[in-house]
């Protein structure tokens, strides 16, 4: 089938009517747009509850700022490596691309590992999702975010493997976009549950 498609592609060199965005990038931003509101929806609910729950600050004192700060650094570093992977992809240095993608995935798994340790400590201290308003949002949101970090790391790994078959710049860029999105969400979660 791909042979025939390639022939057709050769034939139809006249382009489509299109908005001036490569379709892979546009498709990915459409998807990201939805994801922004999914996480945004639960964050908005947290903000609403927080504004009406006077006990929030007291509960948030029990979270560990040091662990979370380390995790913040981990995510930021992953953002850097992800965007560097993109930069090297645009100049076709695929070896470096794989390296930086690998580092990004490493950051992702590190984040999750640290999160596990953090959760274990908190559960050990008796703080469960059912322990109160702060905790249900804490576990709900950081857990959901953690799943997104996992997904982002798996996407990065997936792109690393995919690049062996075909060197697609867009794939690297999109994987990076997802990572940055997850990072930005963390930038708000971190202060919401740890700093204030």
């Amino acid at each position: 089938m791909s042979e025939q498609l390639r022939v057709l592609d050769e034939l139809e060199k006249e382009e489509y009517e299109s908005v001036p965005v490569p379709f892979q990038k546009l498709g990915f931003w459409v998807f990201l747009g939805g994801e922004i509101i999914i996480l945004g929806g639960i964050v908005a609910s947290a903000i609403l509850f927080r504004l009406s729950y006077p006990g929030w600050f007291k509960s948030s004192e029990h979270t560990n700022v040091v662990i979370a700060s380390i995790n913040t650094m981990v995510l930021l570093t992953g953002s850097l490596t992800a965007v560097l992977a993109h930069k090297f992809a645009t100049i076709r240095q695929w070896g470096k691309v794989q390296l930086f993608l690998g580092l990004t995935a490493l950051c992702g798994f590190t984040f999750i590992g640290i999160k596990f340790i953090e959760y274990s400590r908190e559960i050990h201290h008796g703080f469960l999702p059912s322990s109160g308003i702060f905790w249900m949002f804490y576990y709900g949101i950081t857990g959901l975010h953690g799943l997104h970090v996992l997904a982002g790391s798996l996407i990065i790994l997936g792109v690393m493997l995919f690049l062996r078959k075909k060197k697609l710049v867009e794939a690297v860029e999109n994987a990076g976009l997802y990572w940055h999105f997850v990072d930005i969400v963390w930038l708000y979660i971190f202060p919401l549950f740890y700093l204030t």
Binding site: K13, Q24, L51, L76, T90, H180, F181
Partner: protein
Amino acid sequence: MKVGERHEIEVRNHEHHHPPYVTIYFILVFLTFASILISQIVHRQKAPAYVFTISTVKALLIALFYMHLKYEGRWVLAFAIIPLIIFALVLFALMPDVVPYQKM
């Protein structure tokens, strides 16, 4: 090759802007430390305003430069901005209902 792969031609011609990623990284790290510091020393009623402002600055740095939104056209910007408007809509439209009630 998939049906839409013709856009590869367009992609290769697509201009790639590369702002100084590493410099921005260090700014982000600095801002992170700043926000942690502020949260510990400033009075807890005022801290959220500062801390979330710093968060927003960091978010903008990542969005504009790492996600290249500074260089993208209106269609991509639309899918980045409209969700934020909807997020704000959900937040503010629900406030009159959810917030006035003190939750134990």
